[in-house]
Amino acid sequence: MAMFRLALVLLFCMTLPIRAETVVAGLSQTRISINTSFQGSEILVFGAVKREAPIPAEKLDVIITVQGPAVPVTVRRKARRLGIWVNTESVEVDRAPSFYSVSTTAPLSQALSQTEDLRHQVSIDRAIRAVGVADGAENVPAFIQALIRIRMRAGLYQMQPNTISLIEDTLFRTGVALPANLTEGDYVTRIFLTRGGQVIDMHQTTIPVRKVGLERWIFNLAHRQPLIYGLLSVLIAVIAGWGASAVFRYFRA
């Protein structure tokens, strides 16, 4: 019986991943505040590889992803009908991250194998597909590609190979630029260590992105007290219009 128990423990230990190398990381900011003068931000992701064994021969790679909150989005395609361009087909993407950035020490295809990408959903393609596409037109992949293309052009999706500096296979750092038109929410940062395309460790942290001060107040009022907000907006307009008229008359008199 004792022998059996020992064998069981041994077997259990063997199935556990051998974590020879683990990642320790930090971010330059613990939260991002959107105030009136917010113009985008850069977060510095830095860290080190902690290991209890000698460095293996295989090349070490680091992959860092930053993912914004997912929002449903409709992708529409235009076609020519009677000489004018109109929206014809559309695909609803249930959840696509509003922001997604992948930084790596090497091209992603080298740093990560296809199966590991599928498992951890690292590449932009996977990050969108993972969360599901609702039914719609045929040729859905073309719509997904369009979504990625448009968001990449807007700087909302970023593919940044070779932007992580890795020193002595131990220290790493990179900067991730966040654009000004950020969606509020929790931004998830994941740091992967890979060797030969296999993920050997992963570390995940969250940075809250929140509006503060006047921005927060206006946003909350608009969503919680829409009637009061609407009245206030109209009132401001009335006062501004009347005020300008009065000021101009005063100057003329």
Partner: protein, 304 residues
């Protein structure tokens, strides 16, 4: 100098926004149009989400119209009675238009409808105005007096009312219908409707050009105020910060515009407005006909 807008969730240039508000305010004061047909497309162009641009544009027009109407009131060029009749029709129309807008949005074709509306109305109205005003301008330059046309079909209808400021004695039905039509279009196109109202008042109701601008502004205040409220309550898309910036530029522009407008001749004013309307129409028509840069477009279902 950049500023972050809380509802639009985007960072934009403050000076550019102030300038935009100013130019639109100037036109508003000069021509009695709310300027919505200019401000809304220009805000799109700056990257502000369409829903926010439409709602905030309406809010901004409230301020510039009030500023303009006060200047007109002092010069006694507002027909309050006519304005009220138009307004009653307008509010009914705006409520109907809002309902239609929501139905069409569910069908996914609202963008096309709005653009087609713009092209059609701007094109027809701009064209008619240009022809008419060029003709009367030539007549004046030729020394002939423009003769006041009388006895049109509008004069044969019941419920006659006397509009002293306009010097009219006509049925209340045409102004009500004009108001309702403009209200529907205002809600669908997200504009005050001045660019339709002004020519309708001149050519359909036969009002003197002098009182048209002030009266149009008067009822635009209420129509856009109503639209602002409707958008704030149903979609939460009115951006107060954006509106305030546009207002500051807009109210100053409107005051200057009213001064400039007072020094220009009515015919010149009409030719300028017609040219402006046609220019915007041409741009929108081109966008519909030319192959778009990207056949695909995104709309965030959650935000709109």
């Amino acid at each position: 100098m950049q500023i972050y807008l809380p509802i639009a969730e985007i960072s934009v240039n403050l000076i550019l926004l102030l300038g935009l508000g100013g130019v639109v305010g100037l036109l508003s004061g000069m021509f009695g149009v709310g300027g919505g047909f200019l401000i809304t497309p220009l805000l799109f162009f700056m990257g502000i989400p369409p829903a926010v641009a439409v709602a905030t544009g309406a809010n901004q027009i409230v301020a510039s119209s009030i500023s303009g109407v006060l200047a007109h009131l002092r010069r006694k060029t507002v027909d309050l009675r006519m304005g009220t009749v138009l307004l009653i029709g307008g509010l009914i129309g705006a409520a109907l238009g809002m309902a239609a807008f929501n139905v069409l949005r569910q069908m996914g074709q609202v963008d096309l409808l709005v653009r087609l509306c713009y092209v059609l109305f701007l094109g027809v109205i701009g064209g008619l105005m240009l022809i008419e005003s060029l003709r009367s301008w030539r007549r004046i330059r030729g020394g002939a007096r423009p003769k006041r046309r009388q006895h049109r079909w509008v004069h044969g209808l019941p419920f006659k009312m006397r509009f002293r400021t306009s010097g009219l004695y006509i049925s209340a039905i045409p102004p009500l219908l004009v108001g309702a039509l403009v209200g529907v279009l205002a809600a669908i196109m997200g504009v005050g409707g001045g660019f339709i109202m002004v020519p309708a008042m001149i050519y359909l109701l036969g009002m003197p050009t002098k009182v048209v601008v002030g009266t149009s502004l008067f009822q635009i205040i209420f129509i856009t105020g109503f639209t602002t409220m409707a958008h704030a309550v149903t979609n939460q898309t009115v951006d107060m910060a954006l509106a305030v910036i546009l207002l500051v530029g807009g109210v100053i522009g409107a005051q200057l515009g009213t001064r400039i407008g007072a020094h220009l001749k009515a015919e010149q004013l009409r030719i300028l407005l017609a040219a402006l309307v046609l220019a915007v129409c041409g741009k929108l028509a081109l966008d519909l006909v030319l192959r778009p840069e990207d056949l695909y477009s995104l709309s965030e279902t959650g935000a709109v």
